[in-house]
């Protein structure tokens, strides 16, 4: 049960957060279709550390960028978005 460091609220239970996507899969509104679909459908899905976008959806609504190890579940960095 992760304890996710919300930049606004402090550490909170994972139940309060929702994972959105990995940072590399952002689709910008003005991305060309090919670029957009490649970003949407091709994930590095690293077995190790990756950068992810989460939101404190059951709390303050803050969006965050987490640098997180997907094997150990350790957070290395958190940044308010």
């Amino acid at each position: 049960m992760l304890l996710i460091p919300c930049p606004h609220c402090g550490p909170r239970n994972q139940e309060e957060f929702a994972y959105e996507r990995s940072v590399d899969s952002l689709v910008r509104l003005d991305d060309a279709p090919g670029v957009a679909m490649a970003a949407l459908y091709a994930r590095a899905n690293l077995r190790g550390e990756d950068h992810e976008i989460w939101v404190h959806v059951q709390g303050c609504g803050q969006w965050l960028r987490l640098t997180r190890d997907r094997v150990t579940h350790a957070f290395r960095d958190v940044e308010a978005l």
């Binding site: 049960m1 992760l2 994972q14 139940e15 929702a18 994972y19 959105e20 996507r21 990995s22 679909m37 949407l40 459908y41 091709a42 994930r43 590095a44 899905n45 690293l46 077995r47 990756d50 992810e52 989460w54 997907r70 094997v71 150990t72 579940h73």
Partner: protein, 425 residues
């Protein structure tokens, strides 16, 4: 079908009796501890049910016997050994119906075919409906199935209550039971036995099953994959087949490829064994829980995935709480049972909820993955179709809708209608 002979002896009641008289000393290994060799016609990365089934059908159906199955640990140790053993084909989308019913038909003859009792038990897979709207959705699914020649039967509340007497049939229950849709040909199987049975049968046909052999990279000749590097040396082969659902992203990454797959955790649980109390696989149209009773007597159940990427094979207790609360709401007597174990698997969540079977952008490299949380039921069918692809170089028509190109073309399957984010399905 002619009975296959096994080097280490066919299994039968008579053989068991002979064993009883001789202290069971005559049984040999179910499969050889093969050493890496080669070159192989086909290298299958992943000794789970799907990989072993692929190897078996390659040898059995296509006569391709120079096959190696490379397993990083022990065979059947991934999702094959950690699912809730449900087998059914009652999906809604025709592409999935065709594939999973093809698989279900194989399940029905599998124990005999493999000469290994995989304990496939068509005890029925029942979806419950909790409202008129649910019942319409179930009827729609049933209609779609029957129209595809797949069995489905809409049940009244009374019929449901008779089939599963422990369900809470009160009208004022939180999720009242308005009826159900059952697939009587669906049921459960013994998950480990599926891996072992395919391994034994494939080994018997000459397939090399190489355990404790982790793939660390790919051998390349330009844009062509010619084999793999492993912790036990290089192995070369004509076609290289990834079959590591849960870790597809990682293995494809070794070839520099990205996939429309993300690895998520799915948990399951089992209670202490008790005498028979539930004979049917129970699921729900609108809740996220399912349960059945194993032959040993434990109630096996599960619910939603953990909804974020992870390779950890461990989840959060909140998911257990939710699925258990829903199970108890449906069958209140479950409350007094005790959970004896929970576990987690890493599922290959594809971006339309359907599997990916097809050639990769690198020649000679193939993928079978993206099974989300529903791969076990597909084991024989998946292996059969993948074997077809690996033997012929072309996807079988049943597997054709599941190529990787569907994401770029927009021909996604999306059974749940949930869109590309795997945490939403």
């Amino acid at each position: 079908m002619a009975k296959t002979s096994f080097a280490a002896g066919r299994y039968s009641a008579l053989a068991l009796l002979r064993g009883a008289l001789g202290g069971h000393r005559h049984w040999g290994r179910a499969w050889r501890a093969a050493e890496p060799g080669g070159p192989y016609d086909v290298i299958i990365i992943g000794g789970g049910g799907h990989g072993l089934a692929t190897a078996y059908y390659l040898a059995q159906v296509h006569g391709v016997r120079r096959v190696a199955v490379l397993e990083k640990g022990y065979i059947g140790g991934g999702n094959t050994g950690r699912n809730t053993t449900i087998v059914r084909s009652n999906y809604r989308q025709p592409q999935l119906q065709r594939m999973l019913d093809h698989s279900l038909r194989l399940w029905h003859g599998l124990s005999d075919e493999l000469n290994y009792n995989v304990m496939f038990s068509p005890r029925g897979a029942l979806f419950l409906g909790h409202s008129d709207a649910d019942m319409v959705k179930l009827a729609e699914r049933g209609d779609a199935l029957i129209a595809m020649n797949i069995d489905a039967e809409l049940m009244t509340p009374d019929a449901v209550a008779k089939l599963v007497p422990l369900l809470d049939m009160r009208r004022d229950a939180r999720w009242p039971i308005e009826g159900g849709l059952i697939q009587r040909r669906g049921g459960t199987a013994r998950h480990d036995a599926v891996a072992w049975g395919f391994a034994r049968a494939a080994d018997n046909l000459g397939v090399d099953i190489i355990e404790n052999c982790e793939v660390t990279g790919f051998l390349r000749d330009g844009d062509r994959v010619t084999g793999v590097t492993t912790t036990r040396g290089d192995i070369s082969g004509g076609r290289t087949a990834i079959c590591v659902a849960g870790n597809s992203g990682h293995v494809a990454g070794l070839a520099g490829l990205k996939l429309p797959i993300e690895s998520h955790t799915l948990q399951a649980w089992v209670t202490e064994p008790v005498k028979p109390m539930i004979d049917t696989v129970v699921m729900s149209q609108s809740l996220h829980c399912y349960f059945s009773q194993s032959d040993k007597g434990g109630i096996v159940g599960g619910g939603d995935p953990d909804m974020f990427p992870s390779y950890a094979q461990r989840g959060a207790p909140i998911r257990l709480e939710e699925s258990i609360a829903q199970c108890i709401a449906l069958a209140p007597a479950l409350s007094r049972l005790r959970m004896v174990r929970s576990w987690a698997g890493v599922t290959d969540m594809s971006f339309d909820g359907a599997p990916i079977i097809g050639e990769m952008p690198l020649a000679g490299l193939y993928l079978n993955g993206g099974w989300c949380y529903g791969g076990f039921k597909a084991t024989p069918g998946s292996g059969w179709l993948y074997a077809h692809l690996l033997a012929t170089g072309e996807n079988h028509p049943i597997a054709a809708p599941f190529g990787l190109d569907r994401f770029a073309s927009g021909r996604t399957v999306d059974e749940a209608g949930a869109g590309p984010m795997p945490q939403h399905r």
